[in-house]
């Protein structure tokens, strides 16, 4: 479009229309983000500040939420606490200032580790299987390809609880309940459908000529796949991997029903972080913040591919 046309473009909104649009969108964005900021702020409140009325916007920051999240402590009499050797660290002092004694680390670190192990394990497998299948669907004439692809997609239509009923029985037979490997396999199966659909789209966009040239140069199919196609698809594979990771990271229903201790991930754990007398909101907020921060980061990284990921590659732009 020439400069002249741009100046009079009817497609370009007028400055006033733009200002109005900006005002409304920014207002909406601010309203949308307030609950998240509130959680982040609550994590730094003391328990009494977190439940004050009216809700406190300005408060004295405290690390109690984080300390309570990572530690288990028990209430003791002041006399008993006075009889103990002096607290060594700042967090132990903080605990004692509430007439409590540090009794050991909480379960949050193992739960976080479970989320990481299961998340990365299932992502790795789903992307590995998905890459192979997607390449085959993209490049070869697979009989009944459309039916197979639809079959792969349709596995996503089952309500998770419906899937969990027979899986629960099957895992009980196979001793896979509450194991990392059981959860990894399950999440891989769920993620593989997303991975195949997304990656097929990415492979479809890589011109076939590259591989054909490589084949002419004496590469075998597999070499061409490895050395020509895969390097081209790296961005797509990375984006797909992040989407798989986000799914496993966020998943709740299967984790709730199929894990109890050993392999429990963060989502079913966070609601059960309780202090004395009900939920310890600063600790819950601290766990929530730690849990959500990686996703916020990934969302920003993924911006360009978000659309594809959320529509199973149906909209590519």
């Amino acid at each position: 479009m020439s400069a002249h046309a741009a100046a009079h473009s009817i497609v370009e909104a007028s400055p006033r229309a733009k200002a109005f649009a900006g005002a409304v969108v920014i207002l909406y964005a601010v309203i949308t983000i307030v609950p998240l900021l509130w959680i982040g702020a609550t994590a730094f409140k003391s328990p009494s500040d977190s439940i004050s009325y009216p809700p406190k916007v300005f408060f004295e920051p405290s690390l109690e939420g984080y300390v309570n999240l990572f530690t288990v402590h028990s209430r003791q009499t002041p006399e008993f606490i006075a009889s103990l050797p002096p607290a060594e660290s700042w967090w132990e002092k903080l605990i004692r200032s509430h007439n409590m004694v540090y009794a050991g680390p909480s379960k949050v670190v193992p739960r976080f580790m479970n989320s990481l192990i299961i998340g990365f394990g299932s992502t790795f497998l789903a992307v590995l299987l998905g890459t192979l299948a997607a390449y085959a669907f993209s490049r070869f004439r697979v009989p009944l390809a459309d039916d197979l692809l639809f079959f792969i997609l349709s596995t996503r239509m089952m309500p998770p609880i419906a899937v969990a009923i027979p899986i629960y029985l099957m895992y009980r037979e196979l001793n896979l309940t509450d194991t990392h490997i059981g959860m990894i396999l399950l999440y891989t199966a769920v993620n593989v459908s997303l991975a195949v659909w997304l990656l097929k789209g990415f492979f479809d966009e890589i011109p076939r000529e590259y591989e054909e040239a490589a084949l002419v140069d004496g590469y075998t199919r597999l070499q061409a796949f490895r050395k020509v196609v895969l390097p081209q698809a790296v961005t797509g594979i990375a984006a797909t991997a992040i989407f798989c990771l986000i799914f496993s990271w966020n998943e709740y229903a299967f984790a709730l029903l199929l894990t109890s201790g050993q392999a429990q991930t963060m989502p079913p754990f966070i609601p059960f972080i309780i202090g004395e007398g009900g939920q310890d909101w600063p600790a819950v907020a601290a766990a929530t913040t730690l849990f959500l921060v990686p996703i916020v980061f990934f969302t920003i990284v993924l911006r360009k591919h978000l659309l594809r990921g959320i529509t199973f590659g149906a909209v590519r732009k």
């Binding site: 200002a19 109005f20 900006g22 909406y28 004050s52 419906a162 490895r226 966070i270 978000l306």
Partner: protein, 320 residues
């Protein structure tokens, strides 16, 4: 295999560990066998983790099986479970609750999402930053979101009630978003909309950007009013995208479990007891495995059937 000079990939590692004899054989594979070799693992996994359990569930749905009493003699009771479900008033109530939830969340998300997309499409300065901000909620864990909204909805101390009372003067402790029969069904709609309106927005935005400028320029030459342009260009062109967004949201919300389970867990009473929450109660609290399997099959058939019909309609709209 020859040494590769790009960073080691997954496949490299697998290839390095493949015994030479096997590698030779693989190298000589025809395209057709490679295709099957590549697809087979995914299909096998889906068969093992999705299809086999589904078949098992179908079988169980004809029995009185209770998974907390696995030694009870298994009786085949034919279609009795299905008959029970379809004549159970609680199930029908649950379906109504689900329908209320699905219809209202989609209506609100379409209006807000499409509206925001139209505004963002005007490309005011900093629009891409604010778009990212708006998109954040939908990427978060629905369970964790549901859990922290219970905090925001606390009647005395919660931020939500405070803000409402600040703007309307209604005392903050006079209403409970989660505990009241008349409010709870709207609470879950509200939180879901907060989370997923951006989803519809993002897809609509792609639709808007797919409309070539020259169509509007031609309309302008014909002196079509902005109103007319919206109805005869923008809306029809965005429609396939919008319908796709609605399809995905409808499937997801019909299956909805995590967010609502933590926000209201079906309560108060059963006012927010969606189909998936009923299913969870039947299967994992009352342990009526046979009965709940039948219900699971019914739900799956509904989603699958409705999605198939919808996709046919969608394809027709696309072809227009």
């Amino acid at each position: 295999m020859t040494a590769s000079n790009h960073p080691e990939t997954l496949v490299d590692r697998v290839a390095a560990q493949t015994p030479l004899r096997l590698a030779k054989r693989v190298r000589g594979l025809s395209d057709r066998s490679i295709a099957w070799l590549f697809i087979a693992p995914s299909i096998a996994l889906l068969l093992a983790i999705n299809i086999f359990p589904l078949i098992w569930a179908i079988r169980l749905s004809f029995t009185n099986f209770k998974s907390n009493l696995p030694n009870l003699p298994l009786k085949f009771i034919g279609l009795a479970n299905y008959v029970d479900i379809l004549t159970d008033e609680d199930i029908w109530h649950g379906m109504q609750v689900t329908a209320h939830f699905v219809i209202w969340t989609i209506a609100l998300q379409v209006i807000i999402g499409f509206g925001l997309a139209l505004l963002i499409n005007r490309q005011f300065r900093t629009h891409s930053f604010w778009t990212t901000v708006i998109l954040l909620p939908m990427m978060l864990s629905p369970a964790v979101v549901g859990n922290f909204w219970t905090f925001l909805f606390q009647p005395q101390i919660g931020l939500f009630n405070y803000v409402i009372s600040f703007f309307t003067g209604i005392p903050p402790s006079s209403f409970e978003m989660i505990g009241e029969v008349r409010l709870a069904p709207w609470t879950i709609v509200l939180v879901d909309t907060w989370m997923w309106a951006p989803y519809v927005m993002l897809i609509c935005l792609a639709g808007l950007r797919s409309i070539p400028d020259y169509i509007y320029e031609a309309a302008e030459v014909d002196r079509a009013s902005p109103w007319r342009q919206f109805w005869s260009i923008t809306l029809p062109m965005v429609m396939p995208f919008l319908m796709l967004a609605v399809l995905f949201r409808a499937i997801e919300n019909f299956k909805m479990f995590d967010m609502v389970n933590l926000l209201t867990s079906g309560g108060p009473g059963s006012t927010t007891e969606l189909a998936s929450i009923t299913l969870k109660r039947e299967a994992f609290e009352k342990w009526r495995t046979g009965y709940s399997s039948a219900f699971a099959i019914i739900l799956f058939v509904i989603v699958f059937g409705a999605a198939n019909i919808y996709v046919k309609v969608l394809n027709k709209v696309k072809q227009r």
